[in-house]
């Protein structure tokens, strides 16, 4: 008698937890909005404009995923996060996906239980320093005070770099990138270190950019990638293939402008047809319809268009493609094929 009662209770609980474990895709669809973890503000990558609309490189990846899943790139709720809170927000379910210029590392992948998406920006850590300091190499930085953002890989790389070269430094910590820059400009530290992309934009925004130089040494690998939490492989696949689709679209020459010409009907190029969903139905594998990639690209174009509109040579950040060029033009951006 007692045992049956316990069994019923157990069954009810099991059922309840099964009901509660709805997949992320279903949750997002039911909610009608994608929760995307971004930074509280990093020039070119994610920041609100004067009307409160979020803009930037990371932001466009969020919108592309929302477009693929929900059919509308505007259906995104941006969850601003600091370096320390980003993973907690993702893991606690406050965010469905994270695009927060985050470096993929083994401990984050395994210990923090994240699954990283394909790398969407290859970066590396450098140093910005005042020209009148006379220092021209990072090896001369012994004893320097260094402005640094806490909770980031740059903080750890810095410690590694200085200890492996048997040099001392004095960290000047801050919570956000903006505070670090403020510390550097008000001479609270000798040098400012972060990813080279951010250094370039920081330098461009200084009062007199020519009075500052970026030291030639790049002391780390920083593959920046989006991430989702462990435990929902279908959701991982969706996010992963949206990023891949944007990169592949550039390789195939599919842009926002010519997308509909290419995808109106099946053409001669089977790769484009698969991307467009006019040949086979790749979307069915990830629980979406055949048009998923079309919608993702239709949001803000392919990888190159997103890059150029947010951080590329014509923007104030003026970043070159460099490593981030497609493998066809000498970079290392190389996405697995859709087939």
């Amino acid at each position: 008698m007692r045992i049956t009662r316990f069994m019923i209770l157990g069954a009810v609980l099991a059922l309840a937890s099964a009901v509660a474990q709805a997949s992320t895709l279903e949750e997002v669809k039911a909610r009608g909005v994608l929760n995307c973890v971004v930074t509280t503000g990093l020039a070119g990558f994610a920041a609100p404009d004067e009307n409160g609309r979020w803009e930037g490189f990371d932001v466009e990846f969020c919108r592309a995923v929302a477009a693929a899943v929900l059919g509308d790139g505007e259906k995104v709720r941006f969850v601003p996060s600091t370096g320390k809170t980003r993973f907690t927000l993702l893991n606690s379910g406050e965010g469905d996906i994270l695009f927060r210029n985050t470096t993929e590392t083994m401990s984050r992948d395994t210990d923090l239980k994240l699954t990283f998406l394909p790398v969407n920006y290859y970066d590396g850590q450098g140093f910005l320093i005042r020209k009148d300091s006379g220092i021209t190499s990072a090896m001369d930085l012994s004893g320097a005070s260094v402005c640094i953002q806490t909770g980031t890989t740059t903080e750890l790389n810095l410690a590694d770099f200085f200890s492996s070269n048997k040099m001392d430094y004095e960290p000047v910590n801050s919570e956000t990138n903006e505070e670090s820059i403020a510390n550097y400009t008000s001479n609270r530290c000798d040098t400012y270190t972060t990813d080279a992309s951010a250094l370039a934009s920081t330098r461009a925004a200084l009062k007199d950019p020519s009075a500052h130089i970026i030291l030639p040494e790049i002391i780390s690998k920083e593959p920046l990638a989006g991430a989702v939490r462990h435990g929902d492989d279908n959701w991982t696949d969706i996010a992963k293939w949206v990023v891949n689709a944007l990169i592949i679209a550039e390789e195939l020459g599919v842009t926002k402008a010519n997308l509909h010409d290419h995808c109106a009907a099946a053409g001669d190029n089977p790769s484009i047809n698969r991307l467009c969903g006019t040949e086979g139905n790749m979307g069915a594998f990830i629980g979406l319809d055949a048009q998923w990639a079309v919608r993702a690209i239709d949001n803000a174009g392919n990888y190159a268009e997103i890059f150029n509109a947010t951080i590329g040579p014509d923007t104030p950040l003026a970043l070159e493609r460099g490593l981030n060029a497609s493998w066809k033009s000498g970079g290392i951006l190389y996405a697995a094929p859709i087939r």
Binding site: G41, P48, E50, E94, S201, A205, K207, L317
Partner: protein, 369 residues
């Protein structure tokens, strides 16, 4: 000139000699009365001379008030670039609140001011009815800001800027005072259960930093609640901030309660008052009066603590300022942003502390020790 003569006893009082009255004497008495004072005065004047003109120059005379971006500002003037703040002013004020619904925020703000009048000034005619309005104001404000019943719904994650500060600050202030009074009374209660609960609550909350509570509210709760539970982040923050302020408020008010001599309670009991009557009519009015500086201090602390919400991803004015600085058009204009936000907080906090002084003066009674 013929000397004027007076009869004995009719000579009018002469004005005090010029050396003890008038601005010159004031200057001599207050600024140059001793060698130390002379030195300090000179140093201060020099400091002001060094600081004020460049500051005014930066803020006003050499500042740019219009421009498309930072470079346009820099081209016009070498000082502050207020065009940045002007362009972002609406973002600073309303956060991400939809543009076409912003009149609701404005209306709620005007209604808030109206609701404050009867609370703050007791000489208002028909004050009783005004207070009824003040009591329903939170409902009206909630409806206006959140929508529903005929208004377009607005999610709380679109709240931001000054409006967010006011929502958190006003809610925290309005609810922490009554909860704090109850907790303070509970802590002194003769019923052990009530006393233990109140002491436990107060000591627990005071033992934990606000930022930890906010963290718990924003992320930990989601681990405990069943997956998929939607529990509004702002609501969680409001509850945490209110509880936090209540615990501090309780201790401030306990200080006031303990300053009331036991004879007062005994006298109230002697004329047949019950516990609540004696509290309401005898003890609390006196205790609260003594506690005013402490209460307002807690209010101001709470109000400024609202900037901590950036840690959990809500963008208060400081957060909006920081993320605005990441706009490639405007990067590098830290001073303008921080100064602007500082002025906003100074105005709010200074008026609170002025009001508390006014209240203290008004409630000043002869038999104060």
């Amino acid at each position: 000139m013929k000397p004027i003569s007076y009869k004995i006893g009719e000579h009018p009082d002469l004005p005090p000699p010029a050396s003890v009255t008038g601005p010159l004497a004031w200057v001599r008495n207050n600024l140059f009365s001793s060698p130390t004072n002379v030195v300090m005065t000179l140093v201060s004047v020099w400091l002001l001379f060094e600081l004020i003109p460049p500051m005014l120059n930066w803020m006003l005379f050499d500042a740019a008030f219009s421009g498309e971006n930072r470079d346009a500002c820099r081209a016009q003037a070498g000082g502050a670039c207020w065009a940045f703040i002007a362009e972002r002013f609406r973002l600073f004020t309303y956060g991400f609140y939809p543009a076409e619904e912003r009149w609701r925020v404005n209306l709620a703000f005007v209604l808030l001011l109206l609701a404050l009048v009867p609370v703050l000034y007791d000489r208002l005619p028909l004050r009783k009815y005004g207070l009824y309005y003040s009591m329903v104001f939170p409902l009206i404000a909630g409806w206006l800001l959140l929508g529903g019943w005929g208004l377009a719904p607005v999610d709380t994650d679109q709240f931001g800027g000054f409006m967010l500060t006011l929502v958190i600050g006003v809610t925290g202030i309005a609810f922490s005072l009554p909860i704090g009074i109850l907790l303070a009374m509970g802590r002194q209660s003769s019923l052990p259960v009530i006393r233990l609960v109140c002491v436990g609550f107060i000591e627990f909350i005071r033992g934990v930093p606000l930022i930890t509570l906010l963290f718990v509210a924003s992320t930990m709760l989601n681990y405990f609640l069943p997956k998929g539970t939607v529990f509004d982040l702002l609501l969680r923050v409001l509850i945490m901030v209110t509880l936090f302020a209540s615990a501090y408020m309780a201790e401030v008010i306990r200080g006031g309660l303990q300053a009331i001599p036991k004879g007062q309670v005994e006298a109230a009991e002697a004329i047949g008052m019950k516990y609540w009557q004696s509290m309401r009519l005898v003890v609390l009015p006196q205790a609260l009066k003594i506690s005013i500086p402490g209460i307002v201090n807690t209010f101001i602390g709470l109000y400024k603590d609202t900037t901590l919400v950036i840690i959990i991803g809500l963008l208060d004015p400081l957060g909006i300022g920081r993320s605005s600085l990441a706009d490639t058009k405007w990067t590098g204009l830290h001073n303008e942003v921080y100064l602007f936000v500082a002025i906003f907080f100074f105005i709010s906090c200074f008026s609170m502390s002025r009001y508390s002084l006014y209240l203290e003066k008004k409630l000043q009674t002869e038999h104060d020790h």
